[in-house]
Subunit: 371 residues, 2 copies
DNA sequence: TTGATCTCTGACTACGTAGACAACATTCTT
DNA sequence: AAGAATGTTGTCTACGTAGTCAGAGATCAA
């Protein structure tokens, strides 16, 4: 209740944001009591609490989280390392992560890794750590090809496996990409295709490798020949490039494409070459972008439930931050994928000739979740 | 050089990150001198500087930006308020903003506004201010319909106009959406279409209103009749819904769609109805999403240069933060748009009948930037 | 030689919050 | 009614950095 503050500049324009001491002075209590009220601590008389809250209101006081962070050593902020791309997957994941982060009371700082970035992921992580984050999310594990492992002394959440990552607790979330690749390929094989071609994502991405592995496994299990892999960079343009090659090969009847955007490029290349989808060539994509259902033909694809990944992963990350178990609690089983069958996949031409009636693939039909 | 520190727990696991005082002790200097070295201040002997740097190295010391922020009152962090969607525009802008932010030495915190968010944009802004940001970016100005204006006492960068926003300095960037809407519409009119239909974006978005205004202006200037406006929500699904209506109307020969995703839905609806693009109906989209060039037919559209918007806007925002001019420096002219003509637009059927030879629109042709 | 100036360094302090602890008031036990 | 338990509030301090100011040593001018 000491009011004997040194003479302060009363006249001049004081734009400084009010602090808890200002509130305290106005309410006639100590700064500590203001702190207590704001933190909902017990042992504050109702009358005092009201007085403080009124002062808070009057001054438009807001807690200074920077000061709280300095004091507590924790910022309640999560750092996200994302690739500097606006690809559907990463973008959607980012949005989902922000939602999940905020629902836990944390906030989100984003840093991109750009292709020609000095430091790459490690540099991005450094930047975040210097900013002060309590945990880190690596949204797109990629293999940067450098020998030195990435070492982080903070809890880390990785979407999909990330070999070469060393961190205190490493949490992993995301679906089982290998199984997804298998599912896509098996669907095509089950339609009667002799084998399935694959337009892969960039192999620096572990997610792309997983899908490719799944494709390989499915082919091997079916005893199907493994055609050469075409590698794209997730963009429609790269799918188009790959499509030019595939269109020229009459053996190709089925293609599993590592994402929907490349599928669009592929479909364009096939259309230009006069090869019909799905009459001559079947396509399965990956992601289920919003427009997948509205392409011509609507695309059979595998959706990824980024919201679920983000919510699950972030909840565990925050828990690890607030109550470090140290002992890595057992990772939950990866979420399973489902296949949305639309109209870009059909029985191969040869089979159809034998089996008679070629059904019209143009019939508008609602998408059918499998599994 | 006081070494008489109180007895500290030497044996136990001390995981605490080293501070400048630890560096100072190791280097045998004062904490202040460490600070001087790290800030590149003059008046430090080379020999001392080296000693400090070696100590920094040895301890793996990193500056604590939280403490610096508390001390300086500035966090060197920009807050981004984004809508909780993974739409192409916002996502791309986000990536561009992060890049721009980091290049200025700042970092980026992201908060989403979700549809059913309590507080909406105001709530998101509050969250950011409490986190401590030096400036705010509003990436998608929308009209929340509440009477109370949004009041922010920090520098704000808005992408496109944002009526109802009150802030110290308000900076604006982004192209002239009205002009863009005009350009798209004029292109269709110049091909000979009697009038142009419009599938608009959600009218809560000021950007959507601008495009609609541009469309209106172009029609009025040409003395063309103004058909009823169809309003979508940016998604392919909403474009499809609108497309069902348009497909049923034989008068429709040209449509300006407020973004590419809705164009995809529209094209699907037309395809299902057996109406050909561009032979019967011409379409102009907006955004130039990566797949626009690979649709069937490749889409005529208006690209937005988000990188330029972000770089320009952020540079000015940071300058305003670091050297407040107060006096709003004159806003630069909005960047101009260009139209990328592909194969979704053509001469209307009636005109073609009169003018003879219907050229094949299927000819693969590289996109042609105009203007 | 005596200031005067410049170079270099350290002590003290503020920034805003919350933890540790102390002090005093009130209520409950026996 | 004395002592214990509990409720309520305040003082002091740390968190890590950098600004202010003082002081010591070195160099320079007259």
């Amino acid at each position: 209740m000491a009011d004997a503050t040194p003479p302060q500049p009363t006249g001049a324009a004081r734009t400084r944001r009010p602090g808890s001491t200002d509130v305290a002075r106005l309410a006639g209590v100590s700064q500590k009591t203001v702190s207590r009220v704001l933190n909902g601590e017990p042992y504050v008389k109702d009358e005092v609490r009201d007085r403080v809250l009124r002062a808070v209101e009057e001054l438009g006081y807001r807690r200074n989280n920077v000061a709280r962070a300095l004091n507590s050593g924790r910022t309640r902020r999560i750092g996200l390392v994302s690739l500097g791309t606006a690809l559907y997957g990463p973008s959607t994941l980012l949005v989902a992560l922000e939602r999940a982060t905020r629902s836990t009371g944390y906030s989100l700082s984003v840093v991109n890794t750009i292709e020609d970035d000095p430091g790459g992921v490690a540099g991005a992580v450094d930047h975040l750590i210097e900013q002060g984050v309590d945990g880190i999310v690596l949204s797109e594990p990629i293999d940067e090809g450098d020998d030195t492992p990435l070492k982080i002394d903070l809890p880390v959440l990785s979407f999909g496996r990330f070999p070469g990552l060393q961190a205190e607790p490493i949490l992993t979330t995301g679906g089982d990409g290998v199984a997804a690749g298998r599912t896509a390929t098996e669907h095509l094989l089950s339609l009667g295709h002799r084998t399935v071609w694959h337009i892969a994502g960039p192999q620096r991405w572990w997610a792309a490798r997983d899908r490719l592995d799944g494709w390989r496994q499915a082919l091997a299990a079916a005893g199907a020949a493994e055609p050469p892999v075409l590698e794209g960079d997730w963009t429609p343009a790269s799918g188009y490039q790959a499509g030019r090659k595939l269109a020229a090969d009459p053996d190709v009847t089925a293609v599993f494409v590592a994402n929907d955007d490349m599928s669009i490029g592929l479909m364009r290349a096939l259309t230009e070459a006069g090869r019909s989808v799905p009459d001559e060539i079947s396509i399965v994509g990956f992601d289920d972008i919003p427009s997948a259902e509205y392409l011509s033909p609507p695309l059979t694809t595998i959706p990824q439930d980024f919201d679920a990944f983000a919510a699950d992963g972030l909840a565990r990350l925050v828990q690890e931050i607030e109550a470090p178990t140290g002992a890595h609690s057992p990772e939950p089983d990866p979420l399973s994928f489902r296949l949305v069958v639309r109209q870009s996949t059909a029985i191969p031409p040869s089979t159809r000739r034998r089996s008679g009636a070629p059904r019209s693939p143009r019939t508008p039909k609602k998408s059918t979740p499998t599994r």
